[in-house]
């Protein structure tokens, strides 16, 4: 069994990409939220419960540069989501056997 990194770059309010990722990501996988996908990391937003529901068996990361660009540095993120920069993104890709983009 390989270890997987799932990449989600679309807003969970706009599209179903994250829904599908959460439905199909195996327990133990990692999920990196980037671009408009970072909105899924907002603690006080309606989508937070879907992410929190998988915090136990998936590891969540969010791309800091995309968080800052969208003005969310002042907005609480879900506890336990790790913020990474592009270097951290690269490390995640290297540490997992496969990167799957949910386009």
């Amino acid at each position: 069994m390989t270890t997987m990194l799932h990449l989600v770059n679309k807003s969970p309010f706009e599209r179903n990409n994250l829904d599908s990722c959460l439905r199909l990501a195996k327990s133990g996988s990692a999920v990196l939220l980037l671009e408009d996908g970072v909105f899924a990391a907002m603690n006080n937003a309606a989508y937070a419960d879907a992410v929190k529901g998988r915090m136990g068996d998936l590891k969540f990361y969010v791309l800091g540069p995309d968080v800052s660009a969208r003005g969310l540095d002042d907005t609480p993120l879900i506890d336990g989501i790790n913020v990474v920069d592009y270097g951290g993104f690269v490390d995640l890709v290297a540490e997992h056997d496969v990167a799957q983009s949910w386009l």
């Binding site: 990449l7 770059n9 980037l34 671009e35 592009y86 270097g87 890709v93 990167a99």
Partner: protein
């Protein structure tokens, strides 16, 4: 580690090309090898040398070409996708080359990872 990159969207309209570029830069800075970036779908538009963003905006075509030159990255534009969209040798930025989809499959075979950026 050898990392291949697939870019499925053109510059500006979607962030995909920006994200891919930042990722490629970071991967190289971390000591990884980015041997090939394959441009597919509207991604072929990243090679259009006529692109002229406003002076205070980033120029993705120039950025890719410069990164490719500095680090010997093979910047491959899919010929089938490019023909449809009017990307031909006469508008191709130096540093890119037009070739077939086999180069994408090869990138999947020869790299340890393939990372896809799209819409």
């Amino acid at each position: 580690m050898k990392i291949g990159i697939l870019v499925n969207e053109g510059p500006f309209t979607h962030q995909a090309s920006d994200s891919a570029y930042r990722f490629a830069e970071a991967a190289i800075a971390k000591g990884h090898e980015v041997a090939r970036v394959f441009f597919y779908n509207d991604g072929v538009n990243n090679s259009n040398k006529l692109s002229e963003p406003q002076s205070d905006d980033r120029n993705l075509v120039a950025l890719w070409a410069a990164l490719g030159k500095e680090h010997g990255i093979d910047l491959v534009v899919c010929i089938a996708a490019a023909l449809r969209r009017g990307i031909k040798e006469e508008v191709l930025k130096d540093g890119f080359r037009i070739s077939g989809l086999g180069q994408l499959v090869e990138a999947g075979i020869e790299n340890d990872r393939l990372v896809v950026f799209g819409d």
